[in-house]
Symmetry: C2
Subunit: 340 residues, 2 copies
DNA sequence: TCGAACTATTAGATCGTTCTAACGAATCGA
DNA sequence: TCGATTCGTTAGAACGATCTAATAGTTCGA
């Protein structure tokens, strides 16, 4: 069991000081090329392995980032996570991944652990409305944060995500342009910024077209197929059912499709249906889902850029990055619809 | 900008030595309860934050694990990752997540980085057949590894995953029991252990039922819907097309369904179809996919247990954990089928 | 020709924990 | 009563890197 090879050993082997060897590790351009090579050769010869812990202790910095996601079982978040990880890896950062499962208490524990770990920055998709405490904890630990997909009020950290309001408005415009007039909205759980914004988008859209919302058609449920199905079923079963349903996201739209299937209704004919996210599954359903597309990988990439920029220059002013969503027309809203 | 609060400050405030304070942090039962409380109170009063880097440097241990996954855009792996993260979090470990995108070179870089980071252990889903180098690198750094879902030859690290061979045999048994006799297999890319094993399961299954495989019906493609679709299309278009198709996984089975849809064929009637994995999407397709179920979260949990046990006691003998899969009959194989 | 400015390298202190070995006090058995 | 054992605590070294300030040696301008 040989001793671990340290920078001291490398320096001795190469005939330079430990300081010089350290500079070589960090690719300093102060070091003359031949010294560089000499030290690198010694490192290879001795089988040197850099010790992150030691470096981090002294420099008070790590090359790791935290990524706190609400629920990876949602394919959208899985893609988002992949996008973030990919971008950070490019920049030599490792990402610590954690799934809060929408649990505020769990999130607090994770954030505390990340602070102890001295992460260089955190991507946070805030779960629960008391996330301010966590954001403040991160702030007082001088850890930069980017909020992704959702944000808490108070402007504690920049937000990177879609323009939810504009997205749902696109959806409303679309179904109205096809002649639909009786619109329902199936939203996510109240309290999250994305839910609020998308709901507001629905109301704004209706107002624009001089339509009045029917309160019993404004619904909300947990973000999954099953709850969406159960929530929408009684609405679809009414004689005066809506002729269009806008959903908080694709997963919930699938739930609605399943409900329609049970009742013998055809999406795009009996009822127009629009989702949000455009996960890969959406184009494969029959009928294929018309949805509001926001590129998860792209948002991940943008969030990474904002966070890494902040880390590189903490005093730089950062702004929110709002991504404009895009309507993807497929089959679930059908052709032009004439009210009977 | 106040100085960081260290154990020294806490010790001084509590009127004990730093050593004692350190033992309190680690919940040592050597310390008498009142001292414990006294120190904890000081920690709270001063706002002490534990410094992982310092601890790791001295103890040569971290509370972080590496999780190297091939492709999270596959929902199965997303669930697996969630399961692992959840179990590790329970045990006070943070998990560093990385997606190799099936790229051996990328995997090497990530593994090196994890070693530098001094992770306590690694979950590896080996990409590429030259993963032995990476496993050896981890071994010489004394880092325990568990291989998940796939494994490289040489028994370098324990394997936790499904019994692929038995799984595909279940699928073959099922379609044969329904009267199907002309079976095709749409496999994943060659070279990966899971591919080889599932293919062998197909051959073994046929042999058991005294059926001879037709070489032109043994196919392989990339693990996604699109490539599956493109690969199976010409086969389905033949006049002597197979009456049953077993797929490497659910994602590829969906690709086959799409191909059938294009050709006006009905899964379960014209051709029986079986997948593998049982991702949540599978029960929602029409017809719902009959598949071989392996619980991703459960496998993640088991893998975590094996790795954490090894970390706790490195000399303990560890064995592979092979999970028996289960046939989930839905609609994609239809009723009993009589050859015309 | 001298001092200033720059270049490549270095000595020694330092980051905040944990480890080792030892301490005094209390308890115990013979 | 004495030595051995146990208990709770502690001093000081150690982990392996980076940081600060300083060192020679070189170049340059006036």
């Amino acid at each position: 069991m040989g001793q671990r090879v340290t920078l001291n050993d490398v320096a001795e082997h190469a005939g330079v000081s430990r300081s010089t060897a350290s500079l070589v590790v960090r690719n300093s351009k102060l070091i003359v090329p031949e010294t560089h090579e000499k030290v690198r050769a010694s490192m290879k010869a001795l089988g040197y392995i850099y010790n992150q812990s030691a470096g981090s202790l002294r420099s008070q910095k790590t090359k790791t980032l935290g990524m706190v996601i609400a629920d990876v079982s949602n394919p959208f978040y899985a893609m988002l996570a992949a996008g973030i990880e990919w971008a950070c890896n490019q920049m030599d950062y490792l990402t610590i991944f954690a799934d809060t499962a929408e649990d505020g208490h769990r999130q607090k524990m994770i954030v505390d652990r990340l602070i102890q770990h001295n992460v260089a920055g955190v991507f946070l998709c805030p779960a629960g409305d008391d996330s301010n405490t966590d954001l403040n904890a991160l702030k007082s630990a001088d850890t930069p944060v980017v909020q992704i997909m959702r944000h808490v009020p108070g402007n504690l950290a920049p937000y990177v995500g879609p323009d939810n309001l504009a997205g749902v408005e696109l959806a409303v415009d679309h179904v109205v342009s096809l002649g639909r007039r009786s619109l329902a909205y199936l939203g996510g759980p109240v309290g999250k910024s994305s839910s609020e914004e998308r709901l507001k988008g629905f109301h704004d859209g209706l107002r624009k077209h001089r339509l009045t919302p029917r309160p019993e058609f404004i619904l909300s449920a947990g973000i999954n197929r099953r709850q969406a199905l159960e929530t929408i079923l009684p609405i679809l079963d009414r004689p005066d059912r809506p002729d269009a349903i806008i959903c908080y996201n694709d997963l919930m739209a699938f739930g609605v499709m399943l409900a329609m299937q049970r009742l013998g209704l055809t999406p795009g004919k009996d009822v127009a249906l629009v989702g949000f996210d455009d996960i890969s599954e959406s184009e494969l359903w029959t009928p294929a889902l018309t949805t509001i597309s926001i590129d998860a990988r792209n948002i991940g990439r943008l969030a990474a850029r904002v966070l890494l920029d902040t880390i590189a220059d903490p005093h730089k002013a950062v702004h929110d990055v709002i991504v404009q969503p895009r309507l993807v027309v497929r089959e679930s809203c059908g052709e032009r619809f004439a009210k009977r």
